[in-house]
Structure formats: structure tokens, C-alpha cells
Amino acid sequence: VNVGSALSVRAVRAVRAVRRVLRVARQLARIGVVRKSQFRVELASQVIMDCVWYATHLLVFEVLFHHADDVAGWSREDVRVFLGFLFVSDAFMMMWLGQSWRFPRDLKDGRLDPFRVRPLSPVFLYFFQLFSLEAVLNLVIAGAYLAWGLGRAGVALGPVSLLVVAWAIVLSCWARLVTLIGWSILDVVLVGSDLGRAVHDVFEAAKDRPLDVFGARTRLFLLYVVPVGVMTHAPARMALGRVGLAQAAFDTVWLLALGVLVLRLWTASFRRYESALG
């Protein structure tokens, strides 16, 4: 009975914590909308910017498929689904994680003290503080493209496949969050090195292409050690039915565990932060 009541107390606390996080997220979104309403040209410009970015990715593959029928076993239709996940996870990052680009600068300038004393996780408060309204529009565009790509790839949109696609999207966004936080740990350890940005550029170039272009060892490394492939490759192969549910479940559990580890490491490394570091 005691174990049961302890568990129920913990469950209630967890629910309260989630509700508090959601309340704060709602306020951050409200502030983001107000901020963006002051720069309307900038808002439109950001939507167009992301569309230009989408277009360059699409054009690269359209040109390549002009010369070949498939790229490492991925047909034109498969690659469209792959790119759909890339665009959706990018829109999620632009919507909620824009502040992460400023992390090395904020660290150098010693601006992180307030996040240590506020009554919520510093990870959440720092990385989610900058809500971008324009990314909502981009998310709609990216989501529509993904849906179109799935249709063209012959994925029948029934309840089960919708559930799998939703699962794949959550996995893709979670991978984006985990990797961004992971790179930022390097900046905390070596302040002023820009190491996080450099490593980000090295590994994340790989996520824009199907990982089957690499050898087996590199592919496994990019899926399970530095999980940039879970943003695009893993969700696309799930949605396309290229892997079974057992493999998808394994990928999910592994990335959840990796995410928890990264969050703990970030919290531990953040303890050594001093505003005088810069």
C-alpha cells in the first residue's frame, strides 16, 4: 500500500510539473507572438527564407534523380518523405529552439545566471525561451509537404500509419532537441571555443542525406552514437515501412535513454558555469 501511495504521489507531482511547463510554454509562445508582431516584414522574410532552404534541398535531389533512378536504394518518392521529416524537424527547431544558436555567445557574456534561479528546469527555460511565430507557418508547409510525400510514396493514411507517422515526427523532434543540447555541453566545457558549433556542422551535414549512402559502421554511428540520423533517416524508414515495429521501438527506447543521459550531463556541466566565465 505504501509503495502504491508513493507512486501515486510521484505521478501527481509529475503531472503538476508537466502542467507547469505547459503553462510557461504558453506564456513564452504569447510573448513570441507579441515580439514578432513588431517586425512583420521580418516575419514574412523568415517564412520565405525557410521556403528557399526547402527549395535548395528539393532541387539538389531533383537534379540528382535526373541522372539516376535511386540514391543508395532510396527512390525519388522515398527521398521526398525523407525531406519531409527534415523540414518538419527543422520547423520545430525554428519554432522553439532558436535561442540555441545564441548559447555560445550568452555563455561567453555570462548571461545565464537568471536560468539557474528560476523555478523550472534551466534546460527548458533557456532553450525554449524564444518562440517563433513564423516557424508555425513553416511547420504547416513542411507538414503538408510530408503528407504529400507520403501520399506519393504510396503510404496509405489509415489510423495505424497515422500513428506511426506521428510517432516518427515526435522521434525526429526529440532527436533534434537531444543533439542541440548535446552540442551545447561542449561549449560549457570549453567556453569560447565554438566547439559546439563546429561539431554541429561536422555531424549535422550528414542528416540532410539518407544514411544509406554511407557504410554500415558510419550509418550505425550516426544513428546510435551521435544520433543525427534519428532526425530524418530513422523516421523516414519507419514511415515508409522499411523497418519493422520492433526496430522502431528499439530506436525510440535508445534515443529516449540517450536523451535522458544528455539532459543529465547538461545539468551537471551547467553546475560549473559561472557568469565570470566570459
Binding site: V63, H67, S193, D201, A205, V213
Partner: protein, 287 residues
């Protein structure tokens, strides 16, 4: 780029030029110090920039060539594609990057006005940044080339003959100047729009794509390639890489030089106009 200078102007044009040259030399040295302040970040940024993307594209090209029957794409064999992608990754380091100029931030925060009362043209400061940028990147390119040739001699592009190197570098440096002027003009739009980073990023996406950073432009449909040959990005990366690989010759170089020279003159005039008009409406109070 004239500014209302309260100091007495130099008596002769030669004295004026000498003063600008002294300032340019000093600004270039200051910018170099600022860029190298965080040494590890500086090294990582300058050596690694652009290489991972090209390495990934090499793997993609291997898959595409294999899928097309292994005969190559429009005259590009797989080793030739590897050489091309590595070359453009190196040459792209010389192309002026928008992070090299923070004029838009100065306009947005309202402190660009402090340069208006100084005894030199603001453009000289910006030009100092361009020279510092190209100077540092030339060293980075030389070091990366040497490291690549030592580590992967089988795949690394062979060193071209002297004339091809000179022609290739001339086009890249002049093209880089056109990129610099474009970035300057886009920064000046902050006088009207306040925030312009999205325009700068958009320009980077488009500029580098049409410059042939991701694949040789001969893989594009013929009409599109011919249209791009009228633009300066085409002659900034794709053509210099072809020159260095011995796939283009002196006549192509002359054509590229003409296109880049005309583009530079037009962009210089445009930069002058947007700077003057922008400054005329600038209140200098920031946001």
C-alpha cells in the same frame, strides 16, 4: 560612401589615398586580431568550414554514379566529382561570408552614426574586413590543401599548373568581392527594414547553390546553366574549380573576368546609393 567628416580634408588626392591606405592596413590588422581572439574556435571554424558538407556530397555522388551504371554523369567520373567537390569546398572558404560584416547590427542598435563623424569613409572599415577575411582564408586554404594532400593523396585534387592556379584564384577573389558588396548592400537595407539577417541567410542559400557548391553546374539542364553563366556566383566557384581541374581555359577565364568586373562595378555603385540614402534617413537612435 562619403560621410560628413568634421576633420579638415587632406590637401591632395594622393594624401587622401595615403590616409585611406594606412587606415585600411590598420583595420585589417585589428579585424585579424578580433577573429583570432578565440583560437580553438577560430581554427575549427576556418579549417572545417564547408568540408563536412562536401564530404557528405561525395558519398551521395558515389551512390548516384553507382545507380547510373558507374559511367559517370555528363562527363564527370566519380574521381573527377570528388576532385570538384573538394575544390569548391576549399575555394568557398575564400568567398566572403555574411558573418564578416555587422553593419546591420550597427544600424539596428543605432551606433553606426559614430563612424559618420570620423575622418575616414565607413566603407574603408568594411573593406578592411574583406581584406582580412580573404587574407586569413588564403592561409586556411593553403593549410587545408597541404593537410588533405598529405592525408588522402589518392582522392585529393592534384595541384594545377601555375597559370591555372593564378586564373582560378583571380576569379574567386574578384567573385568574393562581389559577394562582399552584395552582403554590404543587404546590410544597408537595415536602414529601412531594421532586421535583415533572413535576407543574408537567403542570399547565402541561393548564392552558394547557383555557384555550384553542391554539384557541378553542368549537371543542370543546359538552358539553366547558360542563364547562370551571366551571374557572378557562377564565375566565383564553379568556373574557378573547372579552371583548376583543367576543364576550362583562357577564353573562359576572360569571359569570367568580364562578368565579374561588370558585376563589381554595378554592385559598387549600388552600395554607394543604398549607403547614402540609408544614412540620410537614419535617426541614429537604435531600437
Amino acid at each position: 560612401m562619403t560621410t560628413a567628416a568634421p576633420h579638415p580634408p587632406p590637401r591632395t588626392a594622393a594624401a587622401w589615398l595615403a590616409r585611406q591606405a594606412r587606415l585600411l592596413r590598420r583595420t585589417t590588422a585589428y579585424q585579424l586580431q578580433a577573429a583570432a581572439a578565440f583560437r580553438l574556435g577560430f581554427l575549427l571554424r576556418e579549417v572545417l568550414r564547408g568540408l563536412p558538407r562536401s564530404l557528405v556530397m561525395i558519398f551521395v555522388m558515389r551512390a548516384v554514379v553507382a545507380s547510373s551504371g558507374g559511367e559517370g554523369l555528363r562527363g564527370w567520373t566519380f574521381p573527377a566529382l570528388v576532385h570538384y567537390l573538394l575544390l569548391v569546398a576549399l575555394l568557398e572558404k575564400l568567398v566572403f561570408h555574411e558573418r564578416g560584416l555587422d553593419l546591420a547590427d550597427q544600424v539596428f542598435e543605432g551606433y553606426v552614426t559614430k563612424f559618420v563623424v570620423m575622418p575616414f569613409h565607413y566603407f574603408t572599415l568594411a573593406l578592411g574586413r574583406y581584406l582580412q577575411y580573404v587574407g586569413v582564408q588564403l592561409v586556411a586554404v593553403a593549410l587545408t590543401w597541404a593537410a588533405g594532400a598529405a592525408l588522402a593523396p589518392r582522392w585529393w585534387p592534384p595541384l594545377p599548373e601555375g597559370a591555372a592556379v593564378a586564373r582560378s584564384l583571380a576569379l574567386v577573389v574578384l567573385g568574393s568581392y562581389c559577394f562582399f558588396l552584395t552582403v554590404f548592400c543587404l546590410n544597408c537595407l537595415a536602414f529601412w527594414l531594421d532586421v535583415v539577417w533572413t535576407l543574408l541567410v537567403m542570399w547565402r542559400f541561393v548564392g552558394t547553390f547557383v555557384a555550384g557548391l553542391l554539384f557541378p553546374l553542368t549537371l543542370l539542364p543546359g538552358g539553366l546553366q547558360q542563364a547562370l553563366a551571366w551571374t557572378f556566383p557562377y564565375w566565383t566557384l564553379f568556373a574557378p574549380a573547372e579552371l583548376a581541374l583543367g576543364r576550362a581555359g583562357a577564353s573562359d577565364f576572360a569571359t569570367g573576368l568580364r562578368v565579374l568586373a561588370v558585376s563589381a562595378v554595378v554592385l559598387q555603385a549600388l552600395a554607394l546609393v543604398v549607403w547614402r540614402r540609408g544614412l540620410a534617413r537614419h535617426a541614429g537612435v537604435g531600437m
